[in-house]
């Protein structure tokens, strides 16, 4: 397999893919870096190629930066909490033998195939709408005042929408993990006198820990860049402005490309910090 010849031809063959990927990544990154040190406001016709760290200073010191980081963290934490909790519960349920198992499992994955924009619109107009959303009808049915989710608890609403989208992903990964647990271990625990909840706590949950860390890692990386759901529902108002959304506002609403690029670089750095941190946890979990 690994002769000198096959190695070099393998390198030759993956070269185009590596090249395209590099260009795809590096060009935008380099341009962002370049703009982040420039005072570039196209609508005013300002372009000063080098202003040093001015953009970074004003982005980091603005009051919206810290709040956006906090909002991002809250949002990600909330979504992770719901998807992991719900995912474990659904995985355990779907592992039970039942009628129509195959169809049910496919249906469970369905939300993952709905585009973020579409799902946010569906939730906004069909569930959360005060006048004719399903929740309003439900509230009215029980004689309660309809609740305006998107303006009363906007952060929670977005968390619910995104969690709904990512729940299938978590469920799927956790389901495969649940299925890989040897039944003899559970039987041994049963013989050892462990009731159902102890078996869950001492046997199933530790067995799932690896899958849970993988889900957390992957989801966090994707969730840090949530955009469509916020754009469609609240437009970043009512304390739902995440770091990603702040960058968008700086570039498109304030038309300040330099400031936005600086924000983008800050976001990249923060995301990498989070990723390295998570990778270490995963690595630790994979060791044992």
């Amino acid at each position: 397999m690994a002769t000198e010849h096959s190695k070099s031809s393998a390198r030759l063959m993956i070269a185009p893919a590596v090249f395209v990927l590099l260009v795809w990544m590096l060009v935008p990154l380099c341009m962002t870096l370049y703009f982040s040190f420039a005072d570039y406001r196209p609508m005013r016709g300002t372009f000063d190629a080098w202003i040093g760290f001015g953009n970074y200073a004003s982005f980091l010191t603005s009051s919206s930066f810290l709040s956006s980081v906090m909002v991002t963290l809250q949002m990600v934490a909330g979504i992770l909490l719901i998807t992991i909790g719900g995912g474990v519960a659904l995985a355990l349920l779907l592992d039970q033998p039942m009628f129509g198992q195959g169809i049910v499992r496919i249906l469970v994955i369905a939300p993952f195939f709905v585009m973020p924009t579409v799902s946010a619109l569906v939730w906004k107009n069909m569930f959360f709408n005060v006048d004719n959303g399903l929740f309003s009808y439900l509230w009215k049915f029980f004689g309660a005042q309809p609740y305006d989710f998107l303006s009363q608890s906007p952060l929670l609403s977005i968390v619910v929408i995104v969690a709904w989208q990512w729940l299938p992903f978590a469920t799927l990964i956790l389901l495969t993990a649940v299925q890989s647990l040897s039944s003899e271990q559970l039987e041994a625990a049963e013989m050892d006198g462990a009731p159902g909840y102890s078996r869950f706590w001492y046997i199933i949950l530790p067995h799932l820990s690896r899958a849970i860390t993988v889900v957390i890692l992957i989801q966090t990386i994707f969730l840090l860049s949530i955009f469509a759901e916020i754009f469609v529902t609240t437009n970043g108002a009512f304390g739902t402005r995440t770091l990603t959304y702040l960058v968008y506002q700086r570039v498109l609403e304030s038309q300040n490309i330099g400031l936005g690029s600086a924000g983008g670089i800050v976001a990249v750095i923060l995301a990498n910090v989070v990723a390295i941190f998570l990778m270490r946890i995963v690595g630790k979990n994979l060791d044992t």
């Binding site: 040897s182 041994a188 625990a189 013989m191 050892d192 006198g193 102890s198 001492y202 067995h207 044992t288």
Partner: protein
């Protein structure tokens, strides 16, 4: 105390009857081995006793108390699984402590029992390791340790040695026998290996298709197999089962002669044949002898240094007192 009584116990999976109604008594302190070919229902029977499967009919009593509807944990039995079923994320100490923790035993007593079990099983140096860091034999001992600390009424072993290599298997066989003689607790042991059954058991239960073919001490089964199945299953190498004219001579449908009960003679003899494969084990030599009037080769045990080679002619004489006779139904003729 650990006397287990099965009274017309029956198990069906859907329409398929895996175990037809079956009666069996396991006396306190006995080492009972369930043996049979794969798929004979021996593991299912063990799981019925453990409570991991529900019986479809009949009753199980442990120490005279009905246990049929008790959950596994309440039966006071401990089980050692084929895959050991250790908890991979817990240290050896925590693995062994788990059943006691579940029973809510106080910490001092737990520590005392763990220390005692670890000492008995040579695990003291490994208590803080994870199962993944142990060898097969050590894992097996941890699984046994986890069973011992509960001080159960009886131990159930489900093919515990089948994942070990041959040398380790012999060692663990001794250790389990040793354990039985020190603890004097009832043990029920499932295996498909008749050597394990012969060497360890006080009482062997031979099963075929869920039916008990014969129950008895190893020597009883060896000396007086009740039918051709038991005759062929117990003993290594297998008993030669012969039919036809030679059987008619003994007024039987089938006769059985064990390889060790055939003598190689210089000339004459009842059987004359050609030596096929010869297995030299040093202490013994097993010859597969092709005899013209028989379809299957006969197995013969000879001494370690017999100068016969492939293709040589061999003369055999069975020892008359060791010929087993079976009738048309395969049952032993006394």
């Amino acid at each position: 105390m650990g006397r287990i009584t099965l009274d017309k116990v029956q198990k069906k999976f859907g329409e398929v009857e895996v175990i037809p109604p079956l009666d069996l008594t396991i006396e306190d302190g006995e080492f009972v081995v369930f043996v049979g070919p794969s798929g004979c229902g021996k593991s299912t029977l063990l799981r019925l006793i453990a409570g991991l499967e529900d019986v479809s009919g009949g009753e199980i009593r442990i120490d005279g108390k009905p246990a049929t509807d008790l959950p596994p944990a309440k039966r006071g039995l401990a089980m050692v699984f084929q895959s050991y079923a250790l908890y991979p994320h817990m240290s050896v100490r925590k693995n062994i402590a788990f059943p006691m923790k579940m029973a809510g035993m106080d910490q001092a007593e737990q520590d005392r029992r763990i220390a005692k079990a670890a000492e008995a099983l040579n695990l003291t140096d490994y208590l803080d390791r994870r199962p993944g860091q142990l060898s097969g034999g050590q894992r097996q001992r941890v699984a046994i340790g986890r069973a011992i600390v509960r001080e159960p009424a009886a131990f159930l072993f489900d093919e515990p040695l089948s994942n070990l290599d041959a040398a380790l298997r012999v060692g663990m066989r001794m250790e389990i026998s040793e354990l039985h003689s020190t603890l004097k607790t009832t043990m029920v042991y499932v295996t498909h290996d008749q050597v394990e059954a012969m060497t360890m058991a006080d009482k062997i239960v031979v099963l075929r298709a869920g039916n008990i073919e014969q129950v008895g001490s190893p020597l009883e089964l060896y000396k007086a197999p009740r039918n051709t199945f038991v005759a062929g299953f117990i003993g290594s190498p297998k008993m030669n089962l012969l039919t036809g004219a030679i059987a008619d001579k003994h007024n039987a449908t089938t006769i059985g002669i064990r390889p060790e009960h055939l003598d190689v003679v210089e000339s004459g003899g009842t059987f004359t044949g050609r030596v096929g494969v010869a297995e030299h084990l040093g202490s013994d030599t097993f010859f597969h002898v092709h005899i013209p009037e028989m379809s299957e080769p006969m197995t013969v045990r000879a001494g370690g240094e017999v100068g016969l080679r492939h293709g040589d002619t061999i003369h055999l004489e069975p020892r008359a007192e060791h010929i087993h006779r079976f009738d048309a139904q395969g049952l032993r003729i006394a």
